[in-house]
Structure formats: structure tokens, C-alpha cells
Assembly symmetry: C2
Homo-oligomer: 304 residues x 2
């Protein structure tokens, strides 16, 4: 089995306290690598690189296993798991971080198991660029490397981030982060500047408004699937990136057409993910649900 | 010529003072019917219903004529033209109204010239619902009626607005207005409630994020074309609605497929409009420019 790992994803694992205008949840399974691996696993064999403490519930391990995620790259060490708590505004889009306890994440040094090193698809989820560079250095020339980042690293680790951006195939970040990174306002100008930093592709995420892909092949714009009711938007960007790389790993060649298709699948997995807290929806979903919504979404996007 | 009028549009004509982070313009030609008629005129013979004062510059009349707009429905009366001034934020999206002088608009009673009454396509631009109802009463059973509205009328003339909504085929309004009108948050729920009020179609406009069409046929989502540099976003929604109805008037049957195509054209005309102040861009544009950008936009939206 271990030689079949197509996709490797590194990122955070957190125990989240989340408050929305409608509900409050305590210590639920979260973190970028949880969402991304669950999403990618619908499409290809995915290995998780992350860290948890000894307090990490066995039932959460079972969720990962139920998703079919390979856990050879998951470290469990003495101490408490990374914990995050946040409160969403009435619009369910903006949120305030109440607390962040790094705990075992503070000294995390990701290690790629042997079985992961030759995986052709690598997603460097949102963690410190130094750690992303470390994972990259341990991997054996992956075919396609995506990195995600956030405003924190643009502000405090810009040099390492720029070094990283020079070594990857695709950067994903949200619109405000693209503006912060480049000092430009219009997204086309932001993208142009990022492409000049090295990657062949950049995806600018616009939350509930979808995402845009930029490359030498042109621009692709995908709206978000209009979910009936968002229960918890946490992790949507991670599910998107996970679904994207997981699906892309099944398509053979990486090119503009295939990335567009993979973005469609990523969007759909993310749209399901926000319908429940944590991985609750992703763990009860099957491939047919995803295909059906993909087809429905395509009819929503069709112009002749 | 007068019997060829396919599209009639009523709305405001203003002399606008506009300040953006980059430029300040005084007394430029604006108003919903100016933008909408200029946009519609690319596609079908369009008649304008509006009012100006004796101060309205002859050169602005010439702009309307250059666009090929039929002006039989344009009243010129003693007094000053409606004037609006506003300042845009750094993001070029949000704006503050500095002053609104209704002037001749205060006593405006739109009158449909005989030649306009049988026009099959009617766009009731954003004015008081009472006036929209009056224009509707004067017209002779149009094939397709679109009305646009805004928060002001939802707040101060809700009953007339609801009466109007019961008599039209399509309502266009922006996302915050849809929420205000319906008391719902999710756009699908807003749209459902509006469709229950009478119209077969509702378009919820999302500014720089595009627009969504809702009907019994389903949902259509169109992003906005990513313009390189927005110079002045004023009138974008009006150009969109004008381009939409003007193009729709050329397509024969009104149905979901044709409305989708018309929304594509409306989006593209609007995208050109914001590249200059006032009608500056729309008056120098030709049909081939529009077709070329429509084709470019379609490649940006294509998923296989």
C-alpha cells in the first residue's frame, strides 16, 4: 500500500473551539492537514504529515483512518495538541481568533517517511515557510508541488516564503494575502507579480466568491458552489486545496485543462465540507455525491 | 425608425461629481438610464425615458446621439439637472454619497412616447417604484419586463415595490438589497422568496464578484470579467442590465439559455464601462471589441 501514495500533505492538526451565530463546538478535529487530507483521499491515496499530542483522541485517529488517510507521517509526541479557538461573525465569513495554543506544534519538525518521499504530488499546507522548505528538501523531486500560505508568514517570514515560492509549481493564497505579498491591488497584477517569483501557476482564493487560476495559459475563474446553509466555513480553503491536488493526482498530465477540472472538484468538496462542523460531512460523503454535485455545478456555470 | 424600437429604458440622468483615489471629475454625464441605454444600444434600437434640465450640456445630448439612443422619451424642462456627488474608497468598490440634488427629477413624471409603447423589452431602471409602475401602466403588454431597484425604495416604498415585483418578469438587485428585501441571508433563500413574489427570474448582482440568475430552471452563476484597472465603477450595474436587455432583445425567445448569453454580454459591456469615467469608454467601443472580450471571457470560464 505504501508505494501507492500519490499525494503527500503537510500542515497543522488542531483541536478547535468554534463559535458560530448558531452553535458552539468544543475541541473538534481541525487543522489544515485534517481538512486537506480528508478531501484529497476521495481521489487518491494520501499521506499525512503532521503532529499531535498525547491528548489527541483515539476517535479522531479513527476519523482519519475512516477517510483512508495514510498516517505514517503523523507524529504523536508528549504534550498537548495544537489548539485554536475562534468566533464567526453573523455573516459566517469573517472570524476572530480568540486563542492559539501552539503546544506540540511549537517544536514540530516534519519528517517524511520513506514511503512518502517519491510521492509525485506534494501539498505544503499553511505552516511556517521554513518547515515547508524542510519538507520540500526531504522529498524526492515531486512532479507537482503546491504551497499554501497566510498573512502571518508574509509578515514575519517573507524571505523564507519568497525562497519557497521560487521552488514550487503553484502557490495558493487568498485575495487579501495576494495584495499583502505583492503590494498590488488588482488581482491580475498580484498574480503577474507572483508568477514572476517562480511558480507556473497561482490560485487566488476569494472565499465565498470562488477562486481564480493564473498562468501563462491565461486565466480561469470559478465561482463557489452556492451551498444552501453554511454551518462552519473553517477549513474550506484547505478542503479546496486537498480536493484539487487529490484529483489532479489522478489525471496524469498536469496542465491548464486538468487543473481547471481539479479546481472544480476541490470547490465541490469544500462546498460539502462547510455544511457541517469539522470533518463531519466529509466523513459521510461518497464519491457519487461529489460527482452529482460536480455535474449540477457545471450546469450552473454553462454559457453557450 | 421609430417603429423599430425594441428596448425601452427608464431611469435617472445625472450630472455627477466623482472622486476616486486617483482622480476627480466634475459634472460628468451619469445616471442609470445613461449607462443602461448606452449599453443596450450596442445590440438593439433603444429608447430613453428620462428628464434633464435646461443646464444639460448639448455635448451630452451629442453623446446620446452618438450612441444611437432614441431620445423621443427624453424630457428637457426648466430647472437644473439631477446632480449626484460621491467619493470612492481606496478599494474602488465602496463609496460615500456626498450630495444628491434631485432638481428636475423631483417632479419627474415619465411619459412613454407612442413609438415606445409597443416595445417588447422594457427595463425599469432604478427610480421610485411608483414611477416604475406608471411606466409599466403606459406600456402595451411588453414581452419581457426587467426592474432594478435599490435599498432606498426597499426602505421607504416597500409596498409599491412589492406591487411592482408582482408585475414584472425579472428583478435585478444587489446582494445586500436582496437580503434587505427578504430578511434572509443566504442568496438562494433570498432568491426563492423573491421568486415567490411573482417574477420568473431574479438576478442578484454581486459587484466585482459577478451575478447569479435564479429561476425555476435552476441557477446560473457568472463571475465578473477581471478588468486590468478599474477607473470608475459608477454605473456598472446599469450597464450590465442595459447590455443584458439589449442583447436579449436580439435573441428571439426569452429563456434560460438566452438569458445566460445576455448576462455574458451585459457583464462584458459593464467591464468596459468601468475602464473610464462616465460613458467615455462605451462611446469609443465597437461591437467587435465586445465580441472579442466575450470570447476571451468564455475561455476564462470553461471547464470540461
Amino acid at each position: 500500500m505504501e508505494n501507492n501514495i500519490k499525494t503527500v500533505i503537510v500542515g497543522s492538526i488542531g483541536l478547535d473551539d468554534i463559535e458560530t451565530p448558531f452553535e458552539k463546538k468544543k475541541s473538534i478535529l481541525g487543522g489544515s492537514v485534517s481538512y486537506a487530507c480528508a478531501a484529497a483521499s476521495f481521489f487518491s491515496q494520501t499521506g499525512m504529515v503532521g503532529i499531535v499530542g498525547t491528548d489527541f483522541p483515539e476517535s479522531y485517529m479513527d476519523i482519519y483512518k475512516k477517510c483512508g488517510i495514510d498516517l505514517q507521517g503523523l507524529q504523536q509526541v508528549e504534550g498537548k495538541t495544537f489548539a485554536w479557538s475562534g468566533v464567526y461573525d453573523a455573516d459566517m465569513i469573517n472570524r476572530e481568533t480568540i486563542s492559539t495554543d501552539l503546544n506540540v506544534f511549537e517544536t514540530f519538525m516534519p519528517e517524511l517517511p520513506q514511503a512518502y518521499r517519491k510521492a509525485p504530488f506534494l501539498l505544503l499546507g499553511n505552516i511556517a515557510p521554513e518547515l515547508q522548505l524542510h519538507v520540500l528538501a526531504e522529498s524526492d523531486n515531486p512532479e507537482f508541488i503546491i504551497a499554501d500560505t497566510m498573512d502571518l508568514w508574509i509578515n514575519i517570514a517573507r524571505d523564507s516564503l519568497i525562497e519557497l515560492i521560487g521552488k514550487i509549481d503553484m502557490l495558493t493564497l487568498n485575495d487579501s494575502e495576494a495584495r499583502l505579498l505583492t503590494g498590488k491591488y488588482h488581482l491580475r497584477h498580484c498574480a503577474e507579480k507572483i508568477l514572476n517569483m517562480g511558480p507556473k501557476y497561482v490560485i487566488i482564493k476569494k472565499g465565498e466568491h470562488g477562486a481564480m487560476l493564473f498562468s501563462a495559459d491565461g486565466i480561469f475563474i470559478i465561482p463557489a458552489y452556492p451551498v444552501q446553509a453554511v454551518v462552519d466555513p473553517t477549513g474550506a480553503g484547505d478542503s479546496f486545496a486537498g480536493g484539487l491536488i487529490g484529483h489532479l493526482a489522478t489525471l496524469g498530465e498536469v496542465n491548464d485543462t486538468n487543473i481547471r477540472a481539479a479546481m472544480l472538484y476541490g470547490s465541490i468538496v469544500a462546498s460539502f465540507g462547510v455544511e457541517e462542523f469539522s470533518l463531519d460531512k466529509l466523513t459521510t460523503l461518497n464519491k457519487a455525491d461529489i460527482e452529482a454535485r460536480c455535474n449540477e455545478f457545471k450546469t450552473m456555470l454553462a454559457v453557450t
